[in-house]
């Protein structure tokens, strides 16, 4: 075995003292330097020209494996088959439908927020749409609360694209957590999404970040998630088979495709 050594610890302590002298005194630095020299010399003496070794006697030990369990249960299944878990999950298209439905419903709390705080349903629309309109810099509250065609178009495009993409992402995540889609989509995902946006929106869109009401934002997201989760739950499950063609996993019925004939447990 390589011989044990304490010199590296002394060297490390010396380096620590040397750097500590930058904020203490020269004397600490000198002590550190001396310890470094001693550490290097002592360590080198143990490694040069040959590394020191020490002999450790090896004691042979008899070991007999044993267990109190005397019986083993074997899985009664053909070895050529594989199990896919979970057995059933929601189709990807159910997540897409949930995203679209949630996107429609979450418009109402957003409009309500604009109406209650600024007496204008266009406030929330323009806040979202303003991110896509370049000349909206340093806009006043009255500007944002007024109706603007470009703001409405930009907000509609952004909202539709984001809801569709999140719905697709939701559908893709469902097989990982198929038992509680409302918990996943209604609470966990909105909280994560809101937290992520809260941390990055200041860099992405400072004007939006300065005006956003995070409580209302989280409420809208939760409404989105709950609606999406309910739609998914009512969509019905399909069998989980990773080997199925993509069309079948999407939930589209096609007679020419058949699933594998195995015992999907």
């Amino acid at each position: 075995m390589p011989a044990s050594t304490a010199w590296p610890i002394l060297l490390a302590f010396g380096i620590t003292l040397l750097f500590a002298s930058l904020v203490t005194s020269v004397g600490v630095g000198i002590a550190g330097f001396l310890l470094i020299c001693c550490g290097v010399a002592g360590w080198a003496k143990q490694c040069l020209p040959e590394e020191h070794h020490e002999m450790i006697p090896v004691k042979a030990r008899q070991f007999t494996p044993s267990s109190v369990r005397t019986q083993v249960a074997h899985i009664q299944v053909s070895e050529v088959h594989r199990a896919f878990l979970p057995v059933e999950s929601y189709a990807v298209t159910s997540g897409l439908r949930g995203g679209i439905a949630g996107g429609i419903v979450m418009i109402f709390p957003a409009l309500l927020y604009g109406y209650l705080t600024q007496h204008s349903i266009w406030y929330a629309v323009n806040l979202l749409g303003g991110a896509g309109v370049a000349h909206w810099t340093n806009a006043t509250t009255a500007d944002i609360a007024a109706f603007h065609w470009n703001g409405l178009i930009a907000a509609t495009i952004i909202h539709a694209a984001v809801c569709t993409l999140i719905g697709l992402l939701y559908g893709a995540m469902l097989p990982m957590w198929p038992r509680r889609p409302i918990l996943l989509g209604g609470i966990i995902a909105p909280l994560l999404w809101t937290g992520l946006l809260h941390s990055i929106l200041g860099f992405v869109n400072p004007a939006f970040n300065a005006r956003i009401a995070w409580g209302w934002f989280a409420l809208s997201e939760i409404v989105f998630g709950i609606v999406a989760g309910v739609i998914v739950t009512r969509s019905g499950k399909i069998r989980t088979h990773q080997t199925l063609p993509f069309i079948l996993r999407m939930g589209i019925e096609a007679k020419e495709f058949e699933g594998p004939k195995g015992d999907g447990r």
């Binding site: 080198a44 003496k45 040069l48 020209p49 040959e50 594989r82």
Partner: protein
Amino acid sequence: MSSVPVSHPARSVEWHLPSKRRVGMTALIVGESAIFTIFVVAYVFYMGKSPSGPTPSQVLDVPILATICLLSSSFTIWRAEKAIEDDRMGSFTVWLGATIALAAVFLTNTAFEWKKLIYQDGLTISTNLFGTTFYSLVGLHATHVVVGLFLLTSVFIFSLFGWVDSRQSERFGVVALYWHFVDSAWIVVFTVVYLI
């Protein structure tokens, strides 16, 4: 899901585990390069933004001799590497001593340059933005030279005691790798500080 067994093709070249010493030093160099990059970017970013003097063109002289010495030390340490690989320990000690001497000349030159800047030109680390970034960048490099000089001097002393031979050639190669990095870093620092 089905699987098809395939035979593994016979390897024509025997693979060896990379030297852990070289991997460790390479990782250190990558990390140190990041630190140098930060200091170089800071120097370039604040270049010409000091509201008051002195400016680089007023006080800096191009350290030609020091640069020649430091860059030459890469050649001498390479010769030392070759010597220890061939177990020519006398030659190794001479080339290593030459490397130490060249590094010492570089550090001495830097010390005199700083003495002139501080006492004659009145440029300290807190004088202006140029002083702050200059002493930070050149000081960072000088610190690396000091560490390298300490390592080289240690090996030199060990070789005088007869503790070093060709069995330590790989270890010395790691020290030489660090020294080449210090030289490479100086090329960047020299270009940014004294030429641009």
